[in-house]
């Protein structure tokens, strides 16, 4: 009986997960970047989008996500997410993050681009590594060039 109830609950959960627009944990070391096919291993630079249909795409670097958005067949995105450099493995809302482009912190796809959820952390990294700070809008402009 209990097993029966559990399995019903499980199926309901599956249904919920299947259709809701929400972030999914990235399977580091297994998942491949949707844009460049590289295996995602860096827990401080990965990114994720969730489309308006609830489809999830993972990226090994924030620059891959940005480049994908400039493609002709870019999907309609409901959520932009990115790793917070200060909290490895955590996904943050990419549209409210602060970004640093600095030779002092290499990123997986050669753009030297890193995201921070806290502006203070970003400023601290900027002070010690140099480079340029961007907000989300600024970053989008930068990748349109």
């Amino acid at each position: 009986m209990r097993i029966h109830q559990l399995s019903i609950l499980f199926i309901l959960l599956l249904l919920l997960v299947g259709c809701s627009i929400s972030q999914k944990p990235i399977d580091y070391g297994e998942a491949a970047c949707h844009y460049c096919s590289m295996t995602i291993v860096d827990k401080q630079h990965a990114a994720q989008i969730v489309t308006d249909k609830g489809k999830v795409f993972n990226y090994d670097a924030i620059e891959c996500m940005m480049n994908q958005m400039n493609e002709a067949d870019a999907p309609t995105v409901a959520l932009f997410l990115a790793n917070d450099y200060s909290n490895p493995g955590e996904l943050m809302d990419a549209t409210n993050a602060t970004y640093l482009i600095s030779e002092g912190i290499p990123s997986p796809m050669g753009a030297f681009l890193t995201g921070f959820s806290s502006e203070a952390e970003a400023s601290a990294a900027h002070a010690s590594h140099g480079g340029e700070l961007y907000d989300w809008e600024g970053l989008k402009e930068k990748f349109k060039e």
Partner: protein
């Protein structure tokens, strides 16, 4: 104690000597001296090599960094490290600690060192004209975030990486912005991500290496004029796994390699003017998978043996050429006995298009229905590109 041989003095370091630490030995040495490290265990880290000297270990003395950070950093030209056993590099999220780092230096040699319990192994940064020879790098990476790369070249050029064994790192050997590098006779195995990985690096050559049982064999990305000769890519199985990944690669030579038992032998995206000759593709899921636009690639004299799919395409043929290969699934005949099949071979199966579109249909592989549609497609091509043929399929394996 200091003995004067012909070239430079010998400075001895041992636990009972005047000089008990490697760092004090280095500071006591003059340019072109040899610092001789007697066999013992030295608990040291942040060792700075700031003068052109040779540091030689006697029967592999152990340098134990006790997980404190970087162990040896070279800031001088013409330094040789020879015969050391280095263990316990510190790990950190924000600093890439290495067992041995070479910074903006030339004419270095790193040979016969053994590295264990590392974060990054040998890290060459803006350095050139050096040799990394016959080292053994054994990481124990279990998950990717607390592991660095075995041998990493960053903005470095004219380096020989020869006869090294790298295992259990994130990427075995990693090149970023590094040109004219030769990578020969190495074994790179059991690494979490790639056995060898190129990014934005041009005019490099890699030859006679073995890449086995890595997350994926070799990734070559955004690089020009790379020569890949006589390497072996084996046992790279998994969803994001392949023997070799080519992305945005132009003007490369891929000759005499063996791709055996990989999920995908070569995965090709946006790569142009590449010559594939005399390679063996044996028992892979896909021998060659072409994704997106690729122009002027030539496949000649390759052996395609017992792969589930020999070639798969998701776009047009785009003047890529298949000529004179041997295909184990070729069923044609050779009536005029010129060793070339009289019927052209179509390497792309209709089923591979279906699988590309709907990956789950792979469960229908080997089903009777698929055999029938593949056969009917072979007899009269309707869906597959008409011009994607090898007009001269060989009757015998190419030796």
């Amino acid at each position: 104690m200091v003995v004067k041989p012909a070239s430079g003095a010998i400075v001895k370091v041992c636990p009972t000597c005047v000089l008990q630490s490697i760092q004090s030995g280095i500071y006591a040495a003059s340019p072109h001296d040899t610092v001789w490290i007697e066999k013992a265990t030295y608990q040291e880290y942040n060792i700075k090599v700031d003068r052109p000297i040779t540091i030689k270990g006697d029967r592999y003395p152990v340098i134990d960094g006790e997980d404190q950070g970087e162990i040896i950093t070279i800031y001088s030209d013409s330094v040789t490290l020879d015969g050391l056993f280095i263990i316990n590099v510190g790990t950190s999220y924000t600093t890439d600690y290495a067992a041995i780092r070479v910074v903006k230096s030339k004419y270095f040699t790193i040979q016969n060192v053994v590295l264990e319990k590392l974060f990054f192994g040998i890290y060459l940064e803006k350095s050139s004209y050096g040799k990394v020879y016959h080292n053994k790098i054994i990481g124990d990476a279990v998950d990717e975030y607390n592991s660095g790369n075995g041998i990493q070249l960053w903005y470095s050029n004219n380096i020989e990486v020869d006869q090294n064994h790298v295992q259990g790192a994130r990427d075995g050997i990693y090149l970023e912005f590094s040109d004219t590098i030769s990578i020969t006779n190495n074994t790179s195995t059991k690494n979490i991500r790639y056995g060898l990985h190129f990014m934005f690096s041009d005019d490099d050559i890699y030859e006679n290496n073995t890449f086995e049982d890595n997350g994926a064999g070799v990734a070559v990305m955004f690089s020009k004029r790379i020569k890949m000769l006589n390497n072996t890519f084996r046992l790279n199985w998994g969803t994001a796994s392949y023997g070799m990944l080519l992305k945005e690669i132009n003007d490369a030579e891929i000759i005499g390699n063996t791709f055996e038992e990989n999920t995908i032998g070569i995965n090709i995206e946006g790569s142009n003017r590449i010559n594939y000759e005399r390679n063996n593709f044996i028992g892979n899921g896909w021998a060659v998978k072409v994704v997106g636009a690729c122009y002027e690639n030539k496949f000649r004299q390759n052996n395609f043996l017992y792969n589930s799919f020999d070639v798969s395409y998701n776009s047009n043929l785009n003047d890529n050429e298949f000529d004179g290969n041997y295909w184990s699934s070729y069923t044609g005949y050779d009536l005029n006995k010129d060793k070339v099949g009289d019927v052209p071979y179509r390497p792309v199966k209709l089923f591979s298009y279906i699988v590309n579109r709907t990956p789950e249909t792979i469960v229908l592989l080997r089903s009777l229905f698929m055999e029938i549609i593949d056969f009917s497609e072979k007899v009269s091509p309707v869906f597959t590109p008409d011009n994607l043929v090898d007009t001269n399929p060989m009757m015998r394996r190419i030796e």
